[in-house]
Symmetry: C2
Subunit: 112 residues, 2 copies
DNA sequence: GTCATAAGTTCCAAAACAAAACGTAGGGGC
DNA sequence: GCCCCTACGTTTTGTTTTGGAACTTATGAC
């Protein structure tokens, strides 16, 4: 089964995952909840490639989770802000944050 | 950056995602919360390939999210049950379930 | 003009995935 | 015994996605 087929699954969890069900997408949301909104911020913070980042942002905008907003017109620069739809996933990330703290302690020094 | 490198990330969300951060893994958890425990049940319910399923189950067991349990000794058959660690992710899936119901209505009839 | 900034795009090799067949170890019918 | 069934996987082959790094475009600062 493919990704795209998940969006019409009988199960609401599966449908949700068709939008946010990969690690990079969820890391973008984490950054949004931390107040980030710019392409370069996401790229640096998460360590994902610009290639993947661009693709994921596009899908999040298409799905209405983020909104692409012009924040400078010369030169044209866009950033990404959470919609209400996007905000409502915050509790899921909160659970993951608490779970990570409890069950996945850092084993060695790490960066980014 | 790769998956494996995420497990020592400074961010607890990223560390959590290093274990459950792909859609198939989260669908396995969904099935567990629905009471399923067998290989064939997961395979049929989620629509993922057996190949991927076997790999994901192995990692979930290694990470202590599921426990592989012998339920028949002749022939040897194993199934997979949630540990306390696995149980504690349930609220995250609950958020995704509610979100999916609210924001991702089914557009056409779909199976499995 | 030259450098820096910021949001992407393009290219190619490497890794992950999908689909389907195969393996293994019994159990049950006959 | 022999054949088919169940159930947990593994293997194989070809396609898709990802990772990494360089490149583009538009503009402001020097």
């Amino acid at each position: 089964m493919k990704w795209s087929e998940l969006s019409d699954n009988w199960c609401p969890v599966a449908r949700t995952l068709s939008v946010v069900g990969d690690r990079w997408t969820l890391l973008i949301l984490r950054d949004c909840y931390l107040g980030k909104s710019r392409f370069e911020e996401f790229a640096e913070s998460s360590g994902m490639t610009r290639h993947i980042l661009a693709e994921r942002l596009k899908r999040l905008v298409e799905e209405g989770v983020l909104e692409r907003r012009l924040y400078s017109s010369a030169p044209s620069r866009y950033d990404y802000v959470l919609t209400e739809k996007g905000e409502e996933l915050r509790p899921a990330l909160k659970v993951m944050k608490d779970w990570g703290k409890k069950y996945m302690p850092v084993r060695r020094e790490a960066k980014a």
